[in-house]
Amino acid sequence: MNKLLLNRNQTQRLGFALLTVMAAITVLPIILVVFYVISQGGAAISWEFLSGFPRDGMRQGGILPALVGTLALTVGTAIFSVPLGVAAAVYLAEYAPENGLTRLIRIAIINLAGIPSVVYGLFGLGLFVLFLKFGTSILSASLTLSIMTLPVIISTAEEALRAVPQAFRTVSISLGATRWQTIRRIVLPEALPGILTGIILGLERAAGETAPILFTGAAFFLPRLPNSPFDATMALPYHLFVISTQVPEMPFQIQYGTALVLIVFVLGMNLIATIIRSQARARRQW
């Protein structure tokens, strides 16, 4: 008996050690990647790099058009996906009855979240670029990214709305408020930090995506900034793809610099979302 117990404890120790090592192997490369990119790309970062145009077949100069393009695409995506996504979340959290149609909506959202990004690209090409004749443009790309972003925004915003105590709604209705007044004056303000977090996480994904914009709005190289939503644009992720696969004899430093700017852009948004979330949690009174 004693011997058996010892064996079991040894098994446990061995097992726990194995799991610890696996977790470490999963996480270590992430830390390595981030530090590696920072150490390699840090030297490339300068005001000229951020504010200059690419020169000499993109082998020199800066990344301004790509940076501005990604900014434009992110804002464009927000314009379409935020109102639609938040409204859909309000519907699901506050209005939707428990029936088959609502279940169908939920399944559709899960599917939207799972559709491969390149398929979104095909869809955007078919609907926005060709059928609606928006051309290869910021508009087409933003619309495509919006639909891809929608499920992230809807599910996080719905969760945030549902976290608002039911009692607030009951009290508000009992004081003669309508359902919409209750939502606008109490539920939405209380859920705002959670909704913002969801919006940022969704936009973060949009900002880092390449495949959906490949055939809907991304330009290989543009020597100027886009000046209308109907212009194509350079974008950071696509630019990184281009300079790491399509341009021979590309200086490493510019590649790593571009990767670093993209990571900072995307993870910066992630950081903001995390800060909003934890601050709201600390301040919340229910």
């Binding site: 105590p165 009692a167 009951t170 009992s174 003669g176 303000p189 209380e190």
Partner: protein, 252 residues
């Protein structure tokens, strides 16, 4: 004394089969406290929530019968429920203050009604706080978050919030269940004062409270109205065996 509310053959069933009402008929007098008491699940809360149509939010399977408020059937689908809820205020078991200031809690009902005049709002705040015996305690800090008040103060704020709309009927669903005896005493004292101008329906949290405050009392058991009568007589000489058993503490 006139009859403010006439309930006729009210039957209610929830979709999930929970607590329901069976063929309730009851008249509620104006300017009096009518107490609805009995063990949990007897139908008191359901009845209260019918009176301001808050049951609209719940999953109700069937409702039949009539509830006449000043002669109008409020269960009629044509009823303006918003206007009804302003006329019939409600205080809940747990004090639920809205995530606003004390002032913001009190003016919420008026603001959603469209009232914007600062003077009217200020008036309503002071009047309702005085009615709920809270004015002296909070008049210096109306802009503080309401959540900072103590439990007893919060519940009196909830009462004041309902009063700010100048309702005619006040529904109270175990309003003192979470309060200490002193706060409970304050709330009960306010109610005695308020009944001069309002019709009050109260689901008390104990038989003792029921006996203390009732002008009229209705005993509910498993969705049935067992006995209804004047408070003085019902608690001392109940007509029904089941009422007597409950009042004397033999069950419940």
């Amino acid at each position: 004394m006139t009859e403010k509310i006439q309930i006729e053959h009210l039957t209610l069933q929830y979709a999930d089969g929970a607590e329901s009402l069976r063929d309730i008929s009851l008249n509620v007098r104006e300017n009096a406290i009518t107490v609805l008491f009995g063990p949990a699940g007897g139908g008191k809360s359901s009845l209260l929530r019918c009176l301001n149509r808050l049951n609209d939010l719940a999953d109700v399977k069937t409702v039949s019968g009539k509830i006449l408020l000043d002669g109008e059937n409020i269960l009629d689908p044509q009823t303006d429920v918003i206007a009804l809820r302003r006329k019939v205020g409600m205080v809940f078991a747990r004090p639920v203050v809205l995530p606003f200031s004390i002032y913001g809690n009190l003016t919420y009902g008026l603001e959603v009604m469209g009232e914007k005049r600062k003077l009217r709002l200020d008036e309503a705040v002071e009047r309702s706080l005085r009615q709920a015996a809270l004015w002296d305690e909070v008049k210096e800090r109306l802009d503080d978050p309401a959540i900072a008040l103590s439990g007893g103060q919060q519940q009196r704020l909830c009462l004041a919030r309902a009063l700010a709309l100048e309702p005619e009927v006040i529904l109270l669903d175990e309003p003192t269940s979470g309060l200490d005896p002193i706060s409970t005493g304050k709330v009960e004292a306010s109610l005695q004062e308020l009944k001069k101008n309002y019709t009050i329906l109260l689901a008390p949290h104990s038989v003792q409270q029921a006996a203390r405050v009732a002008d009229y009392a209705a005993f509910f058991l498993q969705g049935e109205l067992v006995e209804f009568g004047e408070g003085k007589t019902l608690f001392t000489t109940p007509r029904q065996k089941r009422t007597e058993d409950y009042v004397t503490g033999r069950f419940g």
